[in-house]
Structures are given as C-alpha cells and as structure tokens.
C-alpha cells in the first residue's frame, strides 16, 4: 500500500527530507512512524508529537488508508 509521508521542523531535519513515498503493508499512524524511524536513525518519537492525515488532525491509533498523506508534527511550540 502506498502512502505519502511529510515531515516538519525537527522531524524534517531528523529524517533528512520533507516528503517521501513509502510502500508498506499498512497499519496505524503510530506503526507508520515506527517504520519510518527504523529507516531514519535520527528520527525519534517525541512526547506530544502530533499526526495529521490528509490535512486533518488525527490520532496515532488511526488506520492509514491507501493514498493517504500522513503528516508527522514534532511537539508544537506556537505563540
């Protein structure tokens, strides 16, 4: 199953890219993050990191569907 992954801020620096396409067996957003972290040794999960799917905030337990775009947000720090 094909999924587009996007990284922001610290995660982008840790992954070394801002977007990539991944072909995987599917699963939750959390499982996708762990898969990507295994590919990018610097990419580390963080407390309070957030995830969005197709530009909608999501939970880490949400299932990723075919052709979804998954956005990994490191801990936010607005204001």
């Amino acid at each position: 199953m094909k999924t587009r992954v996007r990284y922001f801020a610290l995660f982008r620096e840790q992954a070394g890219c801002d977007t990539e396409r991944v072909d995987w067996s599917g699963g939750t957003a959390a499982e996708l993050f762990r898969l990507m972290a295994s590919k990018h040794p610097l990419l580390r999960s963080q407390a309070a990191a957030l995830v969005a799917i197709n530009d909608e905030m999501s939970s880490w337990e949400a299932s990723v569907n075919e052709d979804d775009e998954v956005l990994f947000f490191p801990p936010v720090a607005g204001g």
């Binding site: 922001f8 801020a9 610290l10 620096e13 959390a30 993050f33 762990r34 580390r44 999960s45 963080q46 407390a47 309070a48 990191a49 957030l50 969005a52 530009d55 909608e56 905030m57 880490w60 956005l71 947000f73 490191p74 801990p75 936010v76 720090a77 607005g78 204001g79």
Partner: protein, 152 residues
C-alpha cells in the same frame, strides 16, 4: 477571518477593530512577544514554521470553540510566521464580551489551545550562533531534554 497566519508584522489596531462592538463592555487581549532569552540562553531572533493548511483549519476551530464555550461576542487570533526580531509580536488574541469574566476565560482558552494544537514550530537563534527547535510547553514544563522520551 477569525484565525489567520501572517508573514508581516501584526496590525494590533486592526485586530482590535475586528472585535469592536458597541454592545461589548469588556475587551481582553493577549500578545506573545519575542523575548531576549529562553531557558537561560540569550536569543537573537526567532523563526516560526507554520503548516498553514492545518493551522488555519484548527485555529478557526479553536475560535469557534471559545465562542461556543464562553459568553463572548467576538474573538480573533493572528499568528506570525517566518523570521522575527526581538520585541516583535508573535501572536495576538483579542476578545470582546458583555462582561469581563468570559472575555478573560476565552482569551486564555484560545492562546492555551493555539500553543498546544496548531502545527507551528519555533527555532531559536541564539547569540552564540547556535540555533535550536524549541520544544513544546509541556515538555519544557516537565523538564525533559529534547528527544529523551517517547510517545505512542
């Protein structure tokens, strides 16, 4: 627009006018200012990265939540993006209401939510030349160093 992202200096007067209403007796505003230090380090400037498609949608939701939860008439929030100098306004929240209690509560609710829910990140550029992504408030409050804990 109740919530917006701006790459130019925030027009405080315009934000206030957006919530002005002759039925309102109370006005509360919050401004986040770029200060010269953070966690013991001297800051030179600050850089905000904003992912607009989600930030704008979630920001508008936060304003709607505040209008629904508190007896306020109008609320607006503007957040900067890009490079900011010391003393600049990073974010402004303006709320007007018949009475002040609700205005204070709504203003605080909005800024609290904006700081924890919107995909906005800041990178601090220190006078030492080093720059660093600033961790979220909760992580800082818990005294964690960057990246030393895991979620999920």
């Amino acid at each position: 627009m109740k919530f917006s992202v701006s790459d130019r200096p925030i027009d405080v007067e315009a934000a206030k006018i957006a919530v002005t209403d002759c039925h309102c007796g109370a006005f509360v505003s919050f401004e986040g200012w770029i200060r010269d230090h953070n966690e013991g380090q001297a800051v030179e400037r600050l850089e905000y990265e904003v992912y607009r498609p989600v930030a704008e949608k979630e920001g508008a939701k936060i304003i709607d939540e505040a209008l629904a939860r508190f007896a306020v008439s109008h609320a607006i929030c503007i957040h900067r993006e890009g490079l900011l100098e010391l003393g600049e306004i990073a974010v402004i929240v303006c709320v007007s209401a018949a009475h002040r209690g609700a205005a204070f509560d709504a203003c605080r609710y909005i800024i609290d939510q904006v700081k924890t829910r919107l995909p906005i990140w800041k990178k601090e550029h220190y006078v030492t030349g080093v720059s660093e992504w600033v961790n979220c408030e909760q992580c800082a409050a818990a005294g964690h160093a960057h990246g030393d804990h895991r979620h999920e």
